[in-house]
Symmetry: C2
DNA sequence: CTTGGATTTGAACGAGCGTTCAATTAGAGG
DNA sequence: CCTCTAATTGAACGCTCGTTCAAATCCAAG
């Protein structure tokens, strides 16, 4: 028999994955049929089931492997240092990782509701791991008195939304290079968490307390 | 005959609109059938066609009217003042308008690719009108020397992404009130565009020039 | 009550859906 | 060349899809 059923990690052939990613990113998971994916690969629909047990697993595979690749790259990239240094590294990493992966980002953020509950929970768990690292950096910055952040959870979500939003407009060969985008966004991120020295009177009391200690 | 065909603005009955919005927000446009929408209203599928010429028009109607309501509210809310005042007003308006409209926001950002090209262009045109107002505020701030913004277009997109991202996690009755969210995000927005007085040497020359004049 | 247009039903249409599977083809090892 | 297994085909299954439309129903005006 040919059926390779599903234990873990990359059960789906690369040709099938690429075709599915391309089509789902363009038309949406629900709007793409197994016959379309098969045609993109150059086979008949039935043969797809040698590579994936069903359509849902195909989507889950794409989303989970995207998140796992993100976390893996993150581990090898992240290091120590001051909160400001770590935040800059995180910001530049996020941009460099996501910009060349427009389709994966698009699918991973748009198709969450098409995941069955247990698959959804797993993808959300992986995403939380990533966001938690950013929040840890922000907390470190607050402790150091380097960041004026009133609510680290909300600031984390705000930063992630702002950075991930780049993928909605970035096009390769556009007006801005990846390096320039890194500079622009790092400037915005740095400002956003910055303690403003001459306006101490207007700072949140939590920040004043942190700076006093 | 009963068919009310389509010229402009709110051709679809409110019951049908609400049912469609609810279901599309939850399951996605492609995954929701006309029969499901009809069942949610309490009629048969065929009767839906007294309210909309087809499924596509139903989606377009929801998205266009959301954008038109946004722009209409904006016109009556926007006023003059300094760039900083206008930016604060815009920020608070954006949050107050969008937070009670989670479903509309979700649909308007997720279902763009399910719009036929001419409908897509119209929705994009309306969105650009809204974003252009924010960019105008940023430009005014740069001219006044009040904002340190290196690229007003990119900062506009970053701010919109950050603010609209609130709808992805906000739940009524959650940890934070709308008022508190306004405060937190206004603090972040203000910081993001702020001129940092003690780092004048690092400011873009355009800002230095503006502040010198 | 009767009339007559607006509204709704319920069935039908052709098409496409995800998935299965017996039959066929392909291709490496002996 | 033959064998044997893995891979692929192509047809079929039972459904559901968006949309249409004659027939039935509803309901205000006369």
């Amino acid at each position: 028999m040919g059926r390779k059923a599903g234990s873990h990690s990359e059960i789906t052939g690369p040709k099938v994955r690429e075709a599915a990613l391309r089509l789902i990113a363009r038309h949406g998971f629900a709007a793409v049929s197994m016959r379309q994916i098969a045609a993109e690969v150059g086979i008949q629909a039935g043969a797809l089931y040698n590579y994936t047990p069903d359509k849902q697993s195909l989507l889950f595979d794409l989303m989970r492997s995207h998140m796992e690749e993100l976390l893996e790259s993150r581990v090898t990239s992240a290091g120590g240092g001051s909160a400001l240094e770590r935040l800059e590294e995180f910001t530049r990493f996020h941009i460099r990782f996501h910009l060349p992966r427009g389709q994966q980002v698009f699918v991973s953020y748009m198709e969450l509701r098409n995941l069955e509950p247990e698959n959804f929970q797993e993808v959300e768990r992986l995403r939380r791991l990533y966001e938690d690292e950013l929040e840890g950096i922000l907390r470190q910055g607050v402790e150091e008195g380097a960041f004026a952040v009133a609510d680290t959870k909300i600031t984390t979500l705000a930063l992630i939304a702002m950075l991930t939003g780049i993928s909605n407009w970035y096009r390769e060969g556009g007006r801005l290079s990846v390096g320039r985008i890194e500079e622009l966004y790092w400037a915005m991120v740095r400002n956003m968490v910055a303690v403003l020295p001459i306006e101490g009177a207007e700072l949140p009391t939590s920040v004043l307390a942190a700076r006093a200690s």
